[in-house]
C-alpha cells in the first residue's frame, strides 16, 4: 500500500513546491497591512523607511507636567530634499501621532487629522497650505492629565518632482512620562492562542504516535504512520480526522467567544474595537457551525453509521476522504485576513447588501470562497451517506429496523444535501459580485438583498436541523441503552424525524420576519414554525417515557443525555417566542435570541455530541473512558454552561442588543439598561472561562483514557445495535463484506403487514426472486 504511493507522493510534493513558489511573492502583499499607517509607513512615499532620512522631535520635557502645553519642533536631515531637489517649493512633509494628550497646529503649515494626529498642510491638490515647502514644523502638544504618551513621527524627504518616485521617508518614536502597561490587542491574544493550539495539537499527534509503542519508537516510522492517516479512505480513520478537526475548531471558536466575552464583561469596554468585534463574532459563528459542529457530526456519522447499519465501509470511500479534506482547505480560506484585521465582518449569515459593499472587509471575499468549499464538502458527504443508507443496510435491516442514530443521520443528510445547493448558488453569486462585478445583490442595479436572505435561510434553517438531528439520534441510542430497554415509540420517533425533515424546509421565513419580506410568507412560516414543536415534542416525551419504563444506569454519557433533555427543552421553549411575529419583532435583535440558539446549539448539539463521545469512545479506541474525570467534566460543564446562557434571557428582555460591540448602563428611552446588566455580563464572562476550561477536561480525558484506559469489551454498555457486534476497536473492513451481519430477530421494530408506505416501496422495488422481503 505504501509502496504504491510513491508516484502520487512525488506528484504531491511537486505540487506543494509549485504552490510554495507561486505563493511566496503573494504572501507579502496579502492580506493588506498589519495595523495601519503607523507601522506600514507612508505608503505614498515608498514601501519601507529609509535610514538616510533622520527625523528629529525636540521640545519634549524630561519631567512631564500634567495638562501643560509644550511646543514641539519637528525637522529632518538627509534624503532627496537635501540632495537633488529640483523644486525648492516642495521639500518634505511629516505625520505625527501621539497616544495621549492633544496635538494642535501652531501656524498654517500644520493641520489636524480626523484621528487626532497632525500633518503638514498642502498634502494634496485641494489643500493650498504651504506646509509642503518646509523641512521644519512646529506643533503644540497638551499633555494628558495623567500618564505619559508615546509619539510616532514620520517625515518625508521629497525630491520635488511632483511625484512620489524617488522620495524617501524616515521614522522616529519617542516616549515621555510614565508609560502604561502594554495592553495586548484581541488579535494578538487570538493569534497566540491559536498558534499555541496548533502546537499542542501537533504535540499531541506526536505523543499519541510515541505512546502507541514506546519501545519501537523511531522517527522514520512517523511519516508512514502519519501519511497513512492523511491519505486514508477508511471510514474510521476519516472519522477520527473529522473529530480532531471538529474538536480543534471547537476550541478556536471558543477562543473567539472568550475574547469577545472579555470585551463584553464591562460596559463601554474598549478591549476590542468595533471592527475587531465584528470579525470575531462572524468567525465565532462560522467556525462553530461549519468547522466544529458539522465536522464533529460527520465524524460520528463516519465512525458509527457503517458499523451500525452493518456495512463494510461507506459507499464512496475516496469521496468521503475528499469531503473531509475540503474542510481544512476551506478553513484556510475562511480564516484568511483575520490576523491582519481584514477578516470577514459580515456575521455568519453574510447578509447582502453589506457583504457585496466596499465597506465589507476584503477577507469577506475569501470567507465566501471558503464557504463554497464547505458547500462542496457537504454535498459530497451528503451524496455518500445517502447512497450508503439507501444501498448498504445489512440484509434483514429494513427501513423500520434501522437504529435511531442512523435514522437521524439519514434525515439530516437528506436535508443537508437538498438544501445546501441554494446556499452554494447564493455564495457563487456573491463571490462573482465581489470579484468580476455581477450585480445580483448590488442595490444600485436593482439587486434584491432579500434574495440572499432567502437563499441563505432556505439552507440555513434546514442546517439547524442538520446539526441537531444527529444529537437527537445520539440521545435516543444513549437513553435506550442506559435505561436498559428499547426506545419508547420507535415508529413515532422515525415519523417525528421525517416530519421535522419535511416541515424544516417550509419554516425558514421566521429568520426574516424583520426583513420586510412578503407578509403572506411571514404568516405561512409563522404557522409552520409552530408546527415543528409537534414532532420535537413527540421526541421529548418518548425519551421521558423510555426512562420511565426503564431502569436507568447513570454513566457519564447518561448524564450528558439527561443534561441535553433539560437544556434542549428549555431552548425549545424559549424558541416558541419567535414564531409569533409580534413577539419576534420585539425580541429579534436582543440577547434573548442569543440565549435561545445557544441553548439549542450548545445544550442540544454539543451536549448530545459529548454524550456520544462518552458512549462510543470505547468502541472507537478499545479503551474505557475515565468515569470520574467524566463526571467532573459534566458537572463543571453543565453548571458553567447554564451560568453563561441563562442570564442572557434576562439581559435580552431587559433590552441588551446583540451583535453590538459594547453596551452602556443608561436610562435613555430606547437603550435603557439597568445597572444589574453589567453584573450579569461579568458573570457570563467568568462562566464562559469556566466552560472553556471544563472542555479541556474532556480533551485530557480522551487522550489519557485513549492511551492508558482500561481495555473495553466489544459491548461495554449492553447496546444491541450492530456496532456492538464487532470488536473494540473495530476491524477493517468494519464488517466482513463477504459475511455481512444479518438482522434476524427484529421483532421489537416489526411492523407486521406493510402499511401504505411499505406497499409503495414494494411497488417501486425490483421484484425479488430470493425471498427475504422485509418491509
Amino acid at each position: 500500500m505504501i509502496r504504491s504511493m510513491n508516484k502520487p507522493r512525488s506528484f504531491g510534493l511537486l505540487a506543494i513546491l509549485l504552490f510554495a513558489l507561486v505563493l511566496a511573492p503573494s504572501v507579502q502583499s496579502y492580506p493588506t497591512g498589519i495595523s495601519g499607517a503607523q507601522d506600514g509607513g507612508c505608503s505614498c512615499h515608498g514601501q519601507t523607511a529609509s535610514s538616510e532620512v533622520v527625523p528629529s522631535l525636540e521640545g519634549l520635557p524630561t519631567e512631564l507636567e500634567p495638562g501643560a502645553t509644550y511646543t514641539l519642533n519637528i525637522s529632518f536631515t538627509g534624503g532627496p530634499s537635501f540632495a537633488e531637489n529640483a523644486e525648492p517649493a516642495a521639500l518634505g512633509g511629516f505625520h505625527l501621532w501621539a497616544s495621549a494628550g492633544v496635538l494642535a497646529p501652531v501656524d498654517g503649515m500644520v493641520k489636524t487629522n480626523s484621528d487626532g494626529s497632525v500633518t503638514h498642510t498642502g498634502d494634496d491638490k485641494d489643500d493650498t497650505g504651504m506646509g509642503n515647502d518646509q523641512r521644519e514644523w512646529q506643533v503644540e502638544w497638551t499633555a494628558p492629565m495623567e500618564g505619559g504618551a508615546k509619539f510616532t513621527l514620520h517625515v518625508n524627504s521629497v525630491n520635488g518632482d511632483g511625484t512620489n518616485g524617488g522620495d524617501l521617508w524616515g521614522r522616529l518614536t519617542a516616549e515621555v512620562g510614565p508609560q502604561p502597561v502594554e495592553q495586548a490587542s484581541g488579535l494578538t491574544v487570538l493569534a497566540s492562542a491559536i498558534l499555541l493550539m496548533v502546537v499542542i495539537t501537533l504535540g499531541c499527534v506526536i505523543w499519541v504516535f510515541y505512546r502507541q509503542d514506546p519501545e519501537a519508537f523511531a522517527w522514520e516510522r512517523f511519516w508512514p504512520w502519519f501519511s497513512d492517516y492523511i491519505t486514508s479512505t477508511d471510514h474510521k480513520k476519516v472519522g477520527t480526522l473529522y473529530m480532531v478537526n471538529g474538536l480543534f475548531f471547537l476550541g478556536v471558536g471558543g477562543l473567539f467567544a472568550l475574547i469577545f466575552r472579555v470585551q463584553l464583561a464591562t460596559p463601554g469596554n474598549d478591549f476590542l474595537t468595533q471592527d475587531e468585534y465584528n470579525q470575531f463574532f462572524t468567525m465565532h459563528g462560522t467556525t462553530m457551525i461549519f468547522l466544529a459542529a458539522m465536522p464533529m457530526i460527520a465524524g460520528f456519522a463516519n465512525w458509527i453509521v457503517p458499523l451500525q447499519i452493518g456495512a463494510p465501509d461507506l459507499a464512496l470511500p475516496r469521496l468521503n476522504a475528499l469531503a473531509f479534506w475540503l474542510n481544512p482547505a476551506a478553513a484556510l480560506l475562511l480564516f484568511s485576513g483575520i490576523f491582519s484585521g481584514q477578516g470577514a465582518d459580515t456575521g455568519w449569515t453574510g447578509y447582502a447588501p453589506y457583504i457585496v459593499s466596499h465597506t465589507a472587509h476584503s477577507g469577506a471575499t475569501l470567507w465566501v470562497a471558503g464557504q463554497i468549499l464547505i458547500v462542496a464538502s457537504s454535498t459530497i458527504s451528503g451524496i455518500n451517506f445517502m447512497t450508503t443508507f439507501c444501498t448498504m443496510r445489512a440484509p434483514g435491516m429494513g427501513w423500520m429496523q434501522m437504529p435511531l442514530f442512523s435514522w437521524s443521520m439519514l434525515i439530516a443528510t437528506l436535508m443537508l444535501f437538498i438544501s445546501i445547493p441554494a446556499f452554494g448558488i447564493g455564495l457563487i453569486q456573491v463571490l462573482l459580485d465581489r470579484t468580476i462585478g455581477t450585480v445580483f445583490y448590488e442595490v444600485a442595479a436593482g439587486g434584491d438583498p432579500l434574495l440572499w436572505s432567502h437563499l441563505f435561510w432556505y439552507f440555513g434553517h434546514p442546517e439547524v436541523y442538520v446539526v441537531v438531528l444527529p444529537a437527537f439520534g445520539v440521545i435516543s441510542e444513549v437513553l435506550s441503552t442506559s435505561a436498559r430497554r428499547t426506545i419508547f415509540g420507535y415508529k413515532s420517533m422515525v415519523f417525528a424525524l421525517a416530519g421535522i425533515g419535511i416541515v424544516g424546509f417550509i419554516v425558514y421565513g421566521h429568520h426574516m420576519f424583520t426583513s420586510g419580506m412578503s407578509p403572506v410568507l411571514r404568516f405561512v412560516t409563522m404557522l409552520t414554525t409552530m408546527l415543528v414543536a409537534v414532532p420535537t415534542g413527540i421526541k421529548i416525551f418518548n425519551w421521558l417515557q423510555t426512562m420511565h419504563g426503564g431502569s436507568l444506569v447513570y454513566r457519564t454519557h447518561t448524564l450528558w443525555a439527561l443534561g441535553f433533555l433539560v437544556t434542549f427543552t428549555l431552548g425549545g421553549i424559549s424558541g416558541m417566542y419567535f414564531p409569533a411575529v409580534a413577539m419576534d419583532l420585539h425580541l429579534h435583535e436582543t440577547y434573548f435570541v442569543v440565549a435561545h440558539f445557544h441553548y439549542v446549539f450548545v445544550g442540544g448539539i454539543v451536549f448530545g455530541l459529548y454524550s456520544g463521545i462518552y458512549y462510543w469512545f470505547p468502541k472507537a479506541t478499545g479503551r474505557m473512558m475515565n468515569e470520574k474525570v467524566g463526571i467532573l467534566h459534566f458537572m463543571t460543564g453543565f453548571i458553567s454552561y447554564n451560568l453563561i446562557f441563562w442570564p442572557m434571557h434576562r439581559l435580552g428582555i431587559q433590552g441588551m442588543p446583540r451583535r453590538q460591540h459594547t453596551y452602556f448602563i443608561t436610562t435613555d428611552e430606547y437603550f435603557a439598561l439597568p445597572p444589574e446588566a453589567a453584573d450579569w455580563n461579568m458573570l457570563i464572562t467568568v462562566a464562559a472561562f469556566m466552560f472553556f476550561a471544563s472542555n479541556l477536561i474532556l480533551v485530557y480525558n480522551m487522550i489519557s483514557s485513549g492511551l492508558r484506559g482500561q481495555k473495553a469489551p466489544s459491548d461495554p454498555w449492553g447496546g444491541w445495535s450492530m456496532e456492538w457486534l464487532v470488536s473494540s476497536p473495530p476491524p477493517t473492513p468494519s464488517h466482513d463484506p463477504s459475511d455481512l451481519p444479518v438482522l434476524e430477530f427484529a421483532e421489537i421494530h416489526e411492523d407486521g403487514e406493510p402499511g401504505f408506505f411499505g406497499r409503495m416501496i414494494q411497488w417501486m422495488m425490483i421484484p425479488e426472486d430470493d425471498g427475504g422481503e422485509e418491509e
Partner: protein
C-alpha cells in the same frame, strides 16, 4: 444476486499499481489509501484564492463606483491551484483506470436492492444538481418578475398621454433573447442568411442540436459497449469513436458559446446570398457592467456595416441592464461549467475506451457518466427557451 460479497473469480483481476478502485479492498480487505482527496481539496482552495486575487474589483470612492481589473500578475496562484487539482484528478482516475467491472458493488438494502451502488450515487448527485439549477431558476424568476421589461417600459413611456417618465439609467430587464432571438441591434440583418431567422440565434440553436446529438452518441457508446457480439478490438474502436464524437460536440458547444458571448462572426459581405452576421453579445453591450445601455426603439436601417445607425429622434433611452446580463451569464455559465466538467471526464473515457477499457462487464461506467450528461442536456432544454428564446 447474492447479498454483498464479491465472487471469487474477481480476485485474479490485476489492478493498477496506482492503487485499486474504490471498492476493491484488496485481498486483505484493507481499504486503500489515496493522495487524491487531499490534493483535490487544497488544489481547489488555492484555485479559489487565486481567483479572488486575479479578479479583484476596487472601490473608487470619488466616483462611488467599482472599477474592475484582471490582475494577470496573480494568475500563477490560480494556475497552481488548477495544476494541483488536475494532479489530484489524475491520481484519482489513475486508480480507477484498471476498473474492469469486477468489484462493482451492488446494493443490499431496500429499495435499491441489486442496483449498482455507483448508479444510486449518481442519482443522488443528480438530486443535488437539480437543486443547484432550481436555485438559479428561482433567482431568474424572482428578478425577471421583479423588473419591468425595457421594451414594454419604453413603449408605455411613448404612448400618447403616458405618465411614465424614464430616468437615465433606469433599471429594467432586457432579456438575452432581445439580442439573440429578436435580433436586437441587428434587426436589419435578420433576413440575410436564412430568410427569417435572426443570425444571433444561430450559435445557440446549433448548440442545442449539438447537445442532443451528443446525448444520442453517448447512449450509442453505451449500447455498443454492451454489445458482446462485437470483437474486443472493434468494440473498443467503436466505443472510442462514439465517445470522441461526444467530446467533439461538447467542445463545439463551448466554442460556440464563447463565440456567442465574446467573439461573434461574419461570413461574406452584406449583399451576398450567404452573408452571415452573428455579432457577440458583448459587442452588443449586453454585459454585466452595462449600467448605461443605449436603447434604441427603432434603428433607422441606414447606418454602416455594424450597428452604427443613429437612433430615430426621441426613440432612445439609457437603461441599466446589468441584472439581466448577470442572470444570463451566470446561469448559462454554470451550465457551461457543467459541460466543461463533462468534457474533462469524457477525455479520460475516450483514452480508456481506445485502450480497450470498456467491455460489456463495465459498460455501466459509460451509463453513469451518460446520466450526468443527459442531465446537462435536460438542463439545457430548460435554459434554452428561458434565456435564449423568451
Amino acid at each position: 444476486m447474492s447479498y454483498g460479497g464479491h465472487d471469487d473469480h474477481h480476485h485474479d483481476h490485476q489492478h493498477s499499481h496506482w492503487g485499486p478502485h474504490d471498492w476493491d479492498h484488496g485481498h486483505g480487505g484493507a481499504p486503500h489509501n489515496s493522495w487524491a482527496p487531499i490534493m483535490l481539496a487544497f488544489g481547489s482552495s488555492i484555485f479559489l484564492l487565486g481567483f479572488t486575487k486575479v479578479f479583484t474589483q476596487t472601490w473608487d470612492s470619488e466616483a462611488s463606483i467599482w472599477t474592475y481589473a484582471i490582475h494577470s500578475s496573480q494568475l500563477g496562484l490560480l494556475i497552481a491551484g488548477l495544476a494541483i487539482f488536475t494532479a489530484g484528478l489524475t491520481v484519482f482516475w489513475r486508480q480507477d483506470w484498471s476498473h474492469s467491472g469486477s468489484y462493482e458493488a451492488k446494493a443490499v438494502g431496500t429499495p435499491f436492492r441489486t442496483i449498482d451502488i455507483r448508479k444510486v450515487a449518481v442519482w443522488m448527485f443528480l438530486m443535488s444538481e437539480m437543486m443547484v439549477f432550481s436555485s438559479l431558476f428561482s433567482t431568474y424568476i424572482r428578478y425577471r418578475l421583479g423588473f419591468d421589461n425595457c421594451v414594454e417600459l419604453f413603449e408605455s413611456s411613448i404612448e400618447p398621454g403616458s405618465t411614465v417618465v424614464l430616468e437615465a439609467g433606469q433599471q429594467c430587464w432586457l432579456p438575452a433573447s432581445y439580442f439573440i432571438a429578436e435580433g436586437g441591434y441587428h434587426q436589419e440583418y435578420a433576413n440575410a442568411a436564412l430568410g427569417f431567422m435572426p443570425d444571433t440565434l444561430i450559435p445557440g440553436a446549433i448548440n442545442t442540436f449539438a447537445l442532443i446529438i451528443s446525448s444520442y452518441t453517448i447512449v450509442l457508446a453505451l449500447k455498443t459497449a454492451k454489445d458482446s457480439s462485437l470483437s474486443d478490438a472493434e468494440r473498443s474502436r467503436k466505443v472510442g469513436n462514439y465517445l470522441s464524437i461526444t467530446l467533439f460536440l461538447a467542445t463545439l458547444f463551448l466554442t460556440f458559446k464563447l463565440i456567442e458571448w465574446f467573439i461573434g462572426f461574419n461570413i461574406g459581405h452584406p449583399g451576398d446570398w450567404y452573408y452571415f452576421h452573428a455579432p457577440s453579445l458583448s459587442a452588443d453591450h449586453f454585459t454585466i457592467h452595462e449600467s448605461a445601455y443605449t436603447y434604441c426603439h427603432h434603428w433607422d436601417h441606414h447606418g454602416g456595416v455594424d450597428h452604427k445607425g443613429a437612433c430615430e429622434p426621441g426613440m432612445d433611452a439609457i437603461f441599466d441592464i446589468r441584472m439581466s446580463a448577470s442572470t444570463f451569464y451566470v446561469t448559462t455559465g454554470t451550465h457551461g461549467v457543467h459541460v466543461f466538467g463533462g468534457m474533462v471526464a469524457l477525455a479520460y473515457m475516450v483514452l480508456k475506451a481506445y485502450r480497450g477499457g470498456y467491455t460489456p462487464q463495465n459498460a455501466v461506467s459509460i451509463e453513469y457518466f451518460g446520466l450526468y450528461w443527459h442531465f446537462v442536456d435536460l438542463v439545457w432544454v430548460l435554459v434554452f427557451p428561458a434565456f435564449y428564446l423568451y
